[in-house]
């Protein structure tokens, strides 16, 4: 059997690491220490497994690991961090819509076939040590267009176009009775903020990001910029209300 040493090495990895390799995703709720063990396992992947087919999806290392590290740092010791990652990509069954056909409007275009994909590929929820809960979701919405043309010489040709938009939403549910305070400066214009004040205030920051040509390594930073806005709404004076937390409430 080929690759038996590397296959045996994979059998020794963390179970969620194996799920990333074989199923291209996982869904789990664990304590921060256990997430640390998963990240430790992922860090050692390249040293023992060199077959590209068995590499974890790129988003696991560029997006999931940094966000897990950051949220684990803020999760209280007995609090849980939940992650649901579906890194199979947008072009799989169950994520695709039905195809629609439109007649061509321009000269030479016979018809246009269009379909969509909705891919909510990452969802996370953390119980922070200040008593609040943080949730984030990332979804790719992809438009596929297949344009059927006929050239001047009579040949039939097709052209495929895709356009991807990322929808990111970060929500923070504060502890009951927390007073909200509007920040002195607005967030960057690409972030939309909605606030529901009440017994248990909820702040949500959402954004539409253009994906595709953009380097996805910048995505964790953009998501954390959005999360920053949620922490600016709670006054710093209430920090330390629970345990060792010093900022926010």
């Amino acid at each position: 059997m080929f690759w038996r040493k590397q296959r045996a090495a994979i059998d020794g990895f963390h179970s969620l690491h194996q799920a990333l390799i074989w199923q291209r995703g996982f869904s789990a709720t664990m304590l921060p220490d256990e997430w640390g063990r998963l990240v430790h396992s992922l860090a050692g992947h390249g040293a023992v497994v060199r077959r590209r087919k068995w590499a974890p999806p790129p988003r696991a290392t560029t997006v999931v690991v940094p966000l897990v590290q950051v949220l684990s740092a803020d999760t209280r010791g007995d609090g849980t961090l939940s992650v649901a990652a579906d890194l199979r990509g947008p072009n799989v069954q169950g994520k695709l819509s039905a195809q629609q056909t439109f007649p061509g409007q321009r000269r030479g275009v016979r018809k246009i076939v269009e379909w969509w994909s909705y891919d909510p590929w990452l969802s996370m929820r953390a119980e922070l040590r200040d008593g609040s809960e943080l949730e984030l979701t990332i979804a790719d919405r992809v438009r596929y267009r297949k344009i059927h043309k006929r050239s001047q010489s009579g040949k039939y040709k097709t052209k495929m176009k895709t356009k991807t938009v990322q929808r990111v939403s970060v929500t923070r549910r504060l502890p009951a009775g927390t007073a909200l305070q509007r920040p002195p400066s607005p967030p960057p214009r690409w972030i939309t903020v909605r606030v529901r004040d009440g017994k248990r205030p909820v702040i949500r920051a959402s954004a539409k990001l253009m994906a595709g040509g953009q380097d996805e390594r910048a995505l964790p930073e953009q998501i954390l910029h959005m999360a920053t806005e949620l922490f600016r709404w709670s006054p710093a004076s209430a920090a330390g209300a629970t345990g060792t937390a010093r900022r926010t409430s």
Binding site: P32, D33, W35, G36, R37, V39, H40, L42, A43, G44, T61, V65, P66, Q69, V70, L71, S72, A73, D74, G77, L128, R129, D130, P183, P184, S185, P187, P188, E221, L224, H225, A227, T228, E229, F231, R232, A236, A239, G243, T244, A245, R246, R247, T248
Partner: protein, 135 residues
Amino acid sequence: MEPRERRGRHRDGEEDELTPCSVTTGFFVLGRCGGPAVAACGQCGQPICQAHVEANGLCPECAAAAGYAPQDPHDPRWVGGYRRWFHHRTSQAYNDPTWYSSFDSYDRGSFNPGDDWNSGSGDFGGDDGGGFVDS
């Protein structure tokens, strides 16, 4: 690389018996480690626990100042260095002085031009006019 260390917490009363580790932990919700200290940082003198003792007996912040800040997100110590860099970036994006005031002195140090890892005084150290002014 070791897995993420367990952050020790003390119940009331225990801190009287042990000197708690004063290394800053967290990203948005900052706190002190609070684990039992086993040594003092060789440079700044703050008490540090076994999990936070870096090379040469330094605390993570002084070790980062010496150029040992990990760049790999898989490293459990990466969050501390990234937090400092990230808060610098958010202050530029948000232009919010109150957000800056909530930073730890370690994070404030990133605003000092030419002093990438000044973890002690931040912009309150000295009246040299080279501190944080853009608010």
